[in-house]
């Protein structure tokens, strides 16, 4: 898509942009549909049950049916809710999650926008979703929703810090925050990928990412056993669907980012395997990350709020800092990175 950026903005180009965005939207919605399906299937297998298998062949249309149900549902707004905010919150949650996808390079030339500060762009936009969640919790006029919203704000702000700092090591080794350049810097064998020299950063990133995604074991904002459904307790129908969508789009984004930052993006593990297109490698790595997230969900219990905060500030943040020093030392003495 890079050639579009180099041309002046015309109606034609704007139409191309829109078309590109719609394509991404289509891909993302397809992903979300089948991510939910696979999540249910995988967790089902892990729990000795079948998972969805009724709607369509092998239950493949289960999510479609679920979405259809959500869209056809009556749209309810609690009487005492703050209507404007209540309506705005789901959109506010979804839009940044989708916009953040613009910078993700799927292949050498398969990228929507090649931004120099790609990673920062992602972090900035994902921060907006926090506001949406707090807004939803507040506007619902429900105590559980409020507690969920507050928890979410605290959690996402806390975990953004180690998340960003864990990537600093990668940025130092590459000398850039541009995601495409980060991938290019990892060419070669799989031990050239960032996850080995940046193993601390990788672990911190994964843990923080799980927390950013509000997924088990960090799913406190919507801890169903304590807070019923957290910030979206009062939401139903397509508004709820938007929150759900935003959550899975972030899963998509984080899986992509992990692939790009630490797992070599579209690079094959061995240069000899380069005859397989890069996009295949990308998708495989991406799916491995997604599977990991589901796997964790089937395995772990949930942390407590104070433990969650403690983990972010007392464990992950120092580790991420340490990682920066180690990386700096590595670059200085051992000539890591470019």
């Amino acid at each position: 898509m890079q050639w579009l950026w180099d041309q002046p903005l015309s109606w034609m180009n704007a139409a191309w942009f829109t078309l590109g965005a719609l394509c991404v939207l289509g891909i993302v919605i397809f992903f979300v549909t089948y991510a939910i399906y696979f999540e249910r299937k995988i967790i089902g297998w892990m729990q000795f049950r079948k998972g969805p298998n009724r709607v369509g062949p092998f239950g493949l249309l289960q999510t479609v049916a679920d979405v259809a149900k959500l869209l056809l549902k009556e749209d309810t707004i609690p009487a005492k809710a703050d209507k404007a905010l209540f309506i705005m919150a789901p959109a506010l949650a979804f839009i940044p999650s989708f916009a953040a996808l613009a910078i993700i390079p799927y292949g050498m030339n398969l990228q929507f926008a090649d931004v120099n500060v790609g990673f920062l762009y992602y972090v900035a936009l994902s921060g907006v979703t926090t506001i949406a969640i707090v807004t939803a919790g507040w506007a619902s006029n429900n105590k559980y929703a409020l507690l969920g919203g507050m928890r979410s704000a605290a959690q996402m702000i806390s975990y953004e810090v180690p998340l960003v700092i864990s990537v600093v090591g990668v940025a130092m080794m590459t000398g850039s925050l541009n995601l495409r350049e980060i991938v290019l810097a990892q060419e070669g064998y799989f031990w050239n990928w960032n996850f080995l020299p940046q193993i601390i950063g990788f672990v911190v990133f994964l843990v923080s990412a799980l927390a950013e995604l509000n997924r088990t074991p960090f799913d406190l904002p919507e801890a169903e056993s304590e807070l019923v459904a957290g910030y979206h307790t009062e939401y139903s129908g397509f508004r709820f669907a938007f929150f759900m969508l935003a959550e899975y789009v972030y899963l998509y984004a984080i899986a992509c980012l992990t692939t790009i930052l630490f797992l070599g993006g579209w690079n094959p593990p061995l240069p000899q395997l380069a005859f397989i297109p890069g996009i295949v490698w990308f998708i495989l790595k991406f799916l491995a990350v997604v599977f990991f997230v589901f796997w964790v969900r089937a395995t772990f219990p949930r942390l407590r709020v104070d433990q969650l905060m403690g983990l972010a500030w007392k464990a992950l943040l120092p580790l991420a800092m340490l990682n920066i020093f180690i990386t700096a030392a590595g670059i200085h003495w051992f000539g890591w990175g470019g």
């Binding site: 507690l147 088990t216 056993s225 304590e226 089937a298 219990p301 942390l303």
Partner: protein
């Protein structure tokens, strides 16, 4: 100055973690609980009042519905009380059947607890594993008495149905499988750091407090008090079998978890012995008068249900119906300690502690 307001939160009666229609009114300062008041009675059906106009056999189905996760022990305590008053001898085979179903029931009940407790803590899978295994027990009960939850299996003087052909072998197979499954459970959960961080040191109390509050079952044993009615005041034929009473030390949620999981193991031990010694033939009903009319007087019997000491106090005036029937329900008594444990804890620990007490609302409200 920042002024913070207390938040009054109604946890329940419809809430995923109150395990029924318990309502806990909590006052929160941030997420810290400052005041707790459990409100019960949403499931009060007046069992004790209903019993006064029913004869003893008719009351048995009502006991099923008290602690619906442990209907067999409830059945037993009523039959035991009447048998004690009337001096009825229960045949050997019936006693064995009773013991076997009660121990199976204990395992089933603890499995439900184990699964739901971990679900409360946020672990999804153990719930389904536990229900998978419990399902096998329910199938066994189904074969035995045609019901999966409310069995109505025991009668004064014995049991209603003899074990069908091959049933004992199926139980044996289950016991064998369950042993290895239990080890898997421990592998999956018991060493998990997150789980330990969530339950260790949470909701702790000492033995003195436990006794003061009249706690029983695992809630008492977690403090180190070695008190199990199966050993201390043996009933049925428990005194013939060899088993241990697992006890904790710190009286926290982890110890309660440990005690309950160990109790599954001990129940399996009892079952192994009981199945080995199960009499190949014999009566399943003792000699019972046509009309069950305990003589005038009163009796209090108590047995160890999965939740603690379930007692049955009968005042009889020599009629076919009890004059007064009172059940001492362990969940009801155990729940009293909740406010004491919760003040100063966070909302998250509310779920951990409440789940750790292991209540069944059908029994709390009776």
């Amino acid at each position: 100055m920042i002024r913070t307001e207390e938040l009054l939160l109604n946890v329940g009666p419809q809430h995923p973690s109150t395990h029924g229609v318990l309502r806990v009114v909590v006052k929160l300062d941030g997420e810290i609980i400052t005041h707790v008041e459990p409100v019960i009675g949403y499931l009060h059906r007046g069992t004790e009042k209903l019993a006064e106009s029913l004869n003893y056999t008719q009351i048995i189905p009502y006991t099923d519905r008290m602690d619906y996760l442990s209907a067999m022990t409830n059945n037993y305590v009523l039959c035991y009380a009447v048998e004690k008053m009337m001096g009825i001898e229960v045949p050997e085979r019936a006693e064995f059947l009773r013991l076997i179903v009660m121990e199976l029931q204990r395992i089933a009940s603890h499995l439900v607890w184990w699964g739901t407790y971990l679900l409360d803590i946020g672990a999804l899978s153990p719930f389904l594993f536990a229900f998978n295994d419990r399902e096998r027990i329910l199938q066994l009960f189904n074969e035995l008495c045609g019901a999966r939850l409310t069995y109505n299996y025991m009668r004064v003087g014995g049991v209603k149905w003899d074990a069908p052909e091959g049933w004992i072998d199926k139980v044996k197979a289950f016991v064998k499988d369950m042993k290895s499954r239990l080890d898997e459970y421990h592998n999956l959960v018991s060493g998990n750091e997150i789980f330990l961080a969530r339950v260790k040191g949470i909701g702790a109390y000492d033995a003195e407090t436990a006794i003061q509050y009249g706690l029983s079952g695992a809630n008492l044993r977690c403090t180190g008090v070695k008190w199990d009615l199966r050993k201390n005041e043996p009933y049925c034929i428990y005194d013939r079998f060899d088993f241990d009473i697992p006890v904790g030390q710190n009286g926290d949620c982890y110890d309660r978890y440990y005690v309950r999981t160990e109790e599954i193991r001990q129940s399996l031990r009892i079952l192994e012995q009981a199945l080995e010694q199960f009499p190949p033939e014999g009566e399943t009903m003792g000699k019972v008068p046509r009309a069950i009319r305990p003589p005038a007087g009163e009796v209090y019997v108590r047995i160890e249900s999965p939740r603690g000491e379930i007692g049955c106090y009968i005042v009889s005036k020599g009629k076919a119906e009890p004059y007064r029937l009172k059940f001492r329900r362990p969940s009801f008594v155990n729940l009293q300690i909740l406010p004491k444990l919760l003040v100063g804890e966070s909302m998250t620990n509310l779920v951990t502690i409440l789940g750790g007490i292991d209540i069944v609302l059908g029994e709390v409200d009776c």
